[in-house]
Symmetry: D2
Subunit: 346 residues, 4 copies
């Protein structure tokens, strides 16, 4: 029985972690951490858990939790995990951080985009970027996982093979992303009220979204050189789902089969990445509630570009599901254990 | 390994059956029946099943299927199942019919409300109304299950204890029901287009909805006498979920605790019926994707009425999930096997 | 040119008032009042007004406004208008109060349901309940209008004729109401976040909603005796619209034509109340953005009840549109001036 | 009084035309044309028109209509208008065609993208592309207007100034577009069912959407040379609204003020194009129900690109509103007559 604790369990990603872990019989959640709801019944915050979870919320004391937990998930705001990380914690437990604190290797880049000082940069090097389809081997022995962001997960997986194989010019990559509103969190902000989001679509964070350098770093590893991208996220009136539509200029004339082969080279054996059949477009609804990323592409000979598309549930593969996938790898379990979730439709 | 076949597998209830059964390792689906998509890949109809189901659709030949299946689910239009049922089929396999064909014991009532002749009334008496919380014992040995309708499931479970205990006057029951749009099926009708349903709410079938006699029959069993109700369903702009708000006049002055005790008497040991805490209202979102029915009530001393509320996922407890629950009972399995689904939120 | 001021102009009802008044050339809005946004550009709060309104927000100083305005609309929280009303204001300007402060004639009832002391009960008697279809004559010479609540407008108009004509037993009236989310206001509350409302329906304020006594009072006038009702509102995932479904027991056997005649007696000449054709159900989408109330009914001979239905835009006929209708009457203008809005579909 | 006829009045664009024209007192609609609903009450198709329109639908006989109408709007499927156009019609009435039949000057391009033969190419040259902000002078004396497509209107207006002023390299333009579902029409197609669209986003027509050559042609006029673009539309779960996000590489280093000046040069005097203030993003909800296009841009010095954004109501400025704007110009009326509609929020 793996003993797990969730710090930040009352946000949407924390709630999703609870949902995924509670459906397993090899995990025990012994700590529902919360900043705002200490001593309140968890099931009063997440009524779906009524008669399933009887626990009340604990505080966010990671050190105390580290004494008793085999793994700690931190689904907390940027800077929180970095502010309290120390060797003692890491010597006692494994940490999977769902925030951005350890995702970016260059601390100066982190501090510039996140507008905050990094309190524990000494752990950045050790932290493993938890995108299993690319970093599986490193994850196995990691103590500290930087669980990827939602947009970076979907973007990187959709684009990586073509960058790695040199089929597109990395300097031409444009990512136009669309996300459901759960990505904005459960905080009571006026901009996220039902009537402000419903029947509406808008871009946000244009040119300055914090996921930009994270995507650039991952694509740079694939390209073997520094990559700069355009990244524009949009808020879509739906609860869950991310769709990315990416554009890149082809480095040479290629056939459908050649591009398909590039995707298959990396994903044919991946359970969670589904390369769709020709001309079938990824749709967020078809992956909702699951850990799948559906990807596909279209070559546009008129413009010599390829359009790359990816769809994913932002709370599952984009957050909690990927965290569980990382946990499975770290504990030597089958990677898809507890994650063979069939998307819910409609 | 239980061998199962789904007739009508390409409708929403059929798709949900596939989703639930595929997540189990003790069931094999050997027949995806379809009227419209024979020989097409099932995963091309339900793209969520891509790389999960490789089968193509078969026709709707129940007789052939009965030769090889341990259980057949018919998620088909009214009249279909009744039109082909025979002793040979029932002697070879178990049938769980998700249509209304065998739900109503009085064939004249069926024919009046459904505006069609019943082709095999000889099986009506044998068929067991598959509401496990009330008919569990009869289900165990049934060959033919009449799987309850979505509105009747939610309505009956919300009201039954108070009728049975004589706390409300059965002649005063009014049920105002609200359903997500998946209840209307996957057929291409203009009324169900996105732009016609979105940002809209309306009543439909006022005074003539077919689920009315089904609810009346079940409540009559509880009351021990014939019950006539008002039932008004509404179409709500959401995919899944049924909420019923029911009104009944109290037969005597009662306390919160007395009414609560009536619910607890019937549901305290029921896994799938959750009687919420005082003043917590049932919400469809909190049960989405699960087999739970959340119920609660409010006594209104000003009017001497009690307001009874119930929320449920129409495709799970209202259709496919309840069918699987019935299957579990029929095969001697734990009743919640494969159904310990935690509702997805948000 | 009528000079108008809006106190509470940055809420949804206030914004709708601005929208309706700005489309006229006989009205000048000289005051956009706000508690939270003083000195901010109104168009930065309501971006739809960009390049249409150049004004910044003023404070909520009604006395100062009364010096210069012909009419003041107060679209403010309960208690605000009552807290500052005085003879000086009413001697200088007309006031149309969109809050509940002067709607209920019995101050004890107000204080019980609204849980606050009424600061200026001396004006309650003078205030005219601004439901033009019933109180048109009194509105003409009023100084102070209590603009009806959204649910009471839709409920009263849907039920009034049958109560007045004695066709239903007033003691049996049950109103099951459904509202879009704009009725909950623009305040940043967690319960009104997109992800909490979307794909969800729930009842709220069961048995205790403040609009209950307001509806009861109006129906009591029609019935000629005190009426007690059950009223249950629900929150629906849409921006605008109220649908009410009401149930009443018939006092005698009646035909469709007799009931229709009762509605026609009161509404045949009313521009804003549309009695739909037989078997056509009211739908909120078909009145969106307009000042119409669509009503219809269905006789259910099985239960001896009549189901009364009404649909309306809660921000127009349920708030701002009705306020403008009242203003038109008070200023001797055609009642539908500026309100001949055709519902927007889809 | 201008006498107008609408061919294809029962589609969404036709319904919107009716809504806009009926709110004016200088227009008489004398013909509600329909292919499917001849002799049915128009208000039974569009229930919002109940008690506003008493007419029944006529057939689609344009020749008969031309005898009595001053202007005919054809809101019909591709190929219909071209199939029946002739000199006689144009000599008797003005025609504003909302289909694509006369939008593209090169008939070969039309036939390639629309996969149909053009029946009356002799009128293509005469037809004026009805984008008033660019072609106002030509529209004044036109007999035949090719009313622009929804995506082309929003795309062209958002990008045109920068192309025309040479600030972006036309060969680098990528347009990622998002549309509400009303753009898909009122036909009963399975893909447009509520449950298939809701909680979902997808790209469609990737690389092959018919609006591509239309946008290219208009931008080519601005650039003074042939322009090829990438254009990817997406279906968004909302009724109305188009948002385009476009990317172009800057030809030189420019300041915010320089780019702003380019937009202002073309739009400062345009009533319907609103160049938003710095860092305010266009949102579809803020223009809903109006004829406005909100545009803005963001310079991204990291990539040397500019991100251009535009939001619009696809049924108003993208179809019916623009058609009315063209009519106003053709009849010498104030261009914004009947179109000073304030967007509805929320």
């Amino acid at each position: 029985m793996i003993k797990a604790g969730i710090i930040g369990s009352t946000g949407y990603a924390g709630g999703e972690l609870a949902r995924l872990l509670l459906q397993r019989d090899d995990i025990e959640i012994l700590w529902y951490g919360s900043k705002s709801y200490v001593d309140q019944k968890y099931a009063s915050i997440y009524q779906n858990m009524f008669q399933i979870v009887d626990d009340s919320c604990h505080d966010d004391n990671v050190e105390a939790l580290a004494e008793i937990a085999d793994v700690i998930f931190t689904a907390t705001p940027q800077g929180f995990c970095a502010s309290l990380m120390n060797e003692k914690i890491l010597s006692k437990t494994k940490v999977i951080d769902l925030s951005a604190d350890y995702r970016i290797k260059d601390v100066a880049v982190y501090e510039e985009w996140y507008k905050m000082e990094h309190k524990t940069p000494q752990f950045i090097k050790e932290a493993v970027y938890g995108l299993p389809e690319i970093n599986r081997e490193k994850i196995k022995n990691a103590r500290l996982i930087a669980n990827p962001g939602c947009y970076p997960t979907c973007s990187t997986l959709s684009i990586y093979p073509l960058v790695k194989e040199g089929l597109i010019d990395p300097g031409t990559i444009i990512i136009d992303a669309k996300s459901g509103t759960s990505g904005a969190g459960r905080g009571a902000k006026g901009d996220n009220l039902y009537c402000e989001v419903n029947e509406n679509i808008k871009a946000y964070g244009v040119g300055v979204h914090r996921h930009t350098p994270e995507i650039e770093e991952q694509l740079s590893y694939g390209a073997g050189r520094s990559v700069t991208i355009s990244f524009t996220p949009h808020l879509v009136p739906m609860n869950r789902g991310i769709l990315i539509t990416a554009y890149g200029t082809l480095t040479k004339s290629v056939s459908y089969e050649e591009v398909k082969a590039a995707y298959d080279k990396y994903y044919a054996k991946e359970y969670f990445v589904r390369v769709l059949e020709k001309d079938v477009v990824p749709q967020t609804k078809w992956v909702e509630g699951s850990n799948f990323v559906d990807v596909n592409f279209k070559i546009d000979p008129r413009t010599n570009r390829v359009i790359m598309m990816g769809a994913m549930d932002n709370l599952v593969k984009g957050a909690a599901g990927q965290a569980v996938q990382n946990m499975n790898i770290m504990f030597g379990l089958p990677e898809n254990k507890g994650l063979r979730l069939i998307p819910m439709f409609p």
